[in-house]
Symmetry: C2
Subunit: 329 residues, 2 copies
């Protein structure tokens, strides 16, 4: 079957890759990506939303394939001049990238919501999918470390995740609310994909928005997570290091446990096939490494096909997605 309403929950590079695959596998307009904004910060007087930008650049096909974030064919002339002027130069903003931050910041200052700003930007880049921030209010991930509390980008970029992680908090989350457009997308979704993003840094901030967790749990969609841990390591980023420092097993099972009440199904990498029984959810075992557009599309298609083949057995929702849509939608 072909799904027409799929929601992906995503952080940065890993989430953007699978979202790109889903966009390629689905009919135009079928995908809505709900994106972490806990990484957002103010820099050079501009509001920077790294995960939203990574998702947008990937969906537009103009991302830097070497890094996964930022734009292809990028230059750093503003950064160089800023550095010479004594400005902050530890966060490497590219010239072409900067246009997006300028445009977003100007709109936000005019009182336009981040949801609307993001929609204008994705349309500006000709992206057929809907891209939405997890909320319009600022939520900022704060990293509690052995060196004290660090704002996310200071931990992640400036200190390269070197301090020992103790805990995380999502400052401002209690004041945030799920935007109506996100609410509607999740309520109407046939499938909700938890992308292979960092559970603590990318997906937990999304879940920290009040009522988001219940909204997801109550959604009549098939909910499936793709493991960000393969063969005892994170595919990218500090997820494994963070699990170790928090006393967790570096394993896909830690991810399954983490989102336990929210998931109907799981995707393991071939490298971890032996964990199949331990997952205790319907599990797809496949190659989860996404190296190019074809492998992104292939993984997305496999995930969608796997969900389409699920029936009402086990702990899955009792009825297939289409029958489970609210009558009003």
């Amino acid at each position: 079957m072909t799904f027409s309403r799929v929601v992906a929950l995503a952080g940065g590079v890993g989430g953007a890759k699978l979202a790109t695959g889903l966009q390629a596998a689905l009919p135009p307009g079928a995908l809505t990506v709900v994106v972490n904004t806990g990484d957002d910060f103010e820099h050079w007087g501009l509001t920077i939303c790294p995960d939203l930008d990574t998702v947008i650049y990937n969906l537009a096909g103009i991302h830097n394939p070497a890094t996964g974030w930022g734009r292809a064919h990028e230059t750093g002339h503003v950064l160089q001049a800023m550095s010479e002027l004594g400005g902050e130069d530890w966060f490497r903003l590219g010239d072409r990238d900067l246009a997006l931050h300028l445009r977003r910041t100007e709109w936000l200052r005019q009182g336009i919501s981040l949801s609307e700003v993001t929609d204008r930007l994705r349309r500006g880049f000709g992206i057929p999918s809907t891209v939405l921030p997890m909320c319009d209010e600022p939520v900022r991930t704060l990293v509690h470390t052995d060196e004290g509390d660090l704002p996310f980008q200071h931990y992640f970029v400036r200190r390269r995740c070197e301090p020992l992680l103790i805990d995380l908090s999502y400052v401002g989350a209690e004041e945030a609310r799920v935007p109506d457009v996100v609410h509607e997308a999740i309520r109407a979704a046939q499938v909700i994909v938890f992308c292979p993003s960092n559970p603590y840094l990318s997906l937990d901030p999304i879940l920290s928005v009040p009522s988001m967790r219940r909204l997801l749990r109550d959604a009549r969609a098939w909910k499936i997570a793709v493991t960000p841990i393969v063969g005892g390591e994170a595919i990218k980023g500090p997820a494994a290091k963070m699990m170790r420092e928090m006393g967790q097993m570096i394993s896909p099972l830690t991810v399954v446990d983490h989102f336990a009440d929210l998931l109907d199904a799981f995707v393991l990498d071939n490298a971890d096939g032996v964990l199949h029984d331990a997952v205790q959810l319907p599990t797809l075992i496949t190659d989860t490494i996404m190296a190019d557009l074809e492998s992104k599309r292939r993984l997305a298609q496999e995930v969608l096909d796997f969900v389409a083949g699920l029936d009402g057995s086990g702990n899955l929702p009792a009825t297939p997605p289409d029958a489970r849509l609210p009558a009003s939608s």
Copy 2:
């Protein structure tokens, strides 16, 4: 004699050239440039101060010698990306130039005055002279034309000065005040140079700040203007066109008349030597075209030497500059 306290009143390119010459001719720190901010505007959510920037880039020696404004070795990658995003692209901001606008805007938003921001910037560029805006409050030149009222940059850049000029006003001037640092520099000045800038677009906005005209008239300095009109044409920009449209003679004499009560002396170009008697002020006749650093320095030195050679005759102040300083300074 060597002057140690010289003030230059400047707009953009022409003023920046003579200011650069004065900086080269004077001891380090002797020059204060008071700059027009009537051209300032908001663009891409940033506060752009074109004349301040032109003066800063010229004094720092990093200006684009081909245009006189902007930076040398400049690129336009942000502009290109902004254009592709549907943003405004008629004002051609360069990448390196943008760092300055970002830095300034961030500081202004923090509540730091434009005077202080400008001082930080000129120090950041290693400029030995003081550079000051005419005021800290926003004053915006509005151009009344046969096509209606146009904000300055829309008239100047977007419409290339094509509409017929009727009149000018300096919106916000009545709310502005002369910054203390400008007040002190003018009070202490031995020489005040009216640079060869557009009288209507560059120098009149400075004079529109309440009490500025009286402050200049009462200053115990030698006040000398360098003609922006040579051989019946403006050296650069629309001054001649504007004179014609306002029914004025395209002549250095129009400039002399315009600033009559403020000037002690005048500088004519060799091309207009025949006007010497008509000026009715002590007049230096020389080559006023500034093509390179040496010609800027040479003209500045000639202006300073001419002033140094003036005595108390005619309509000049009765005593030489040093004797005329207030006892308190």
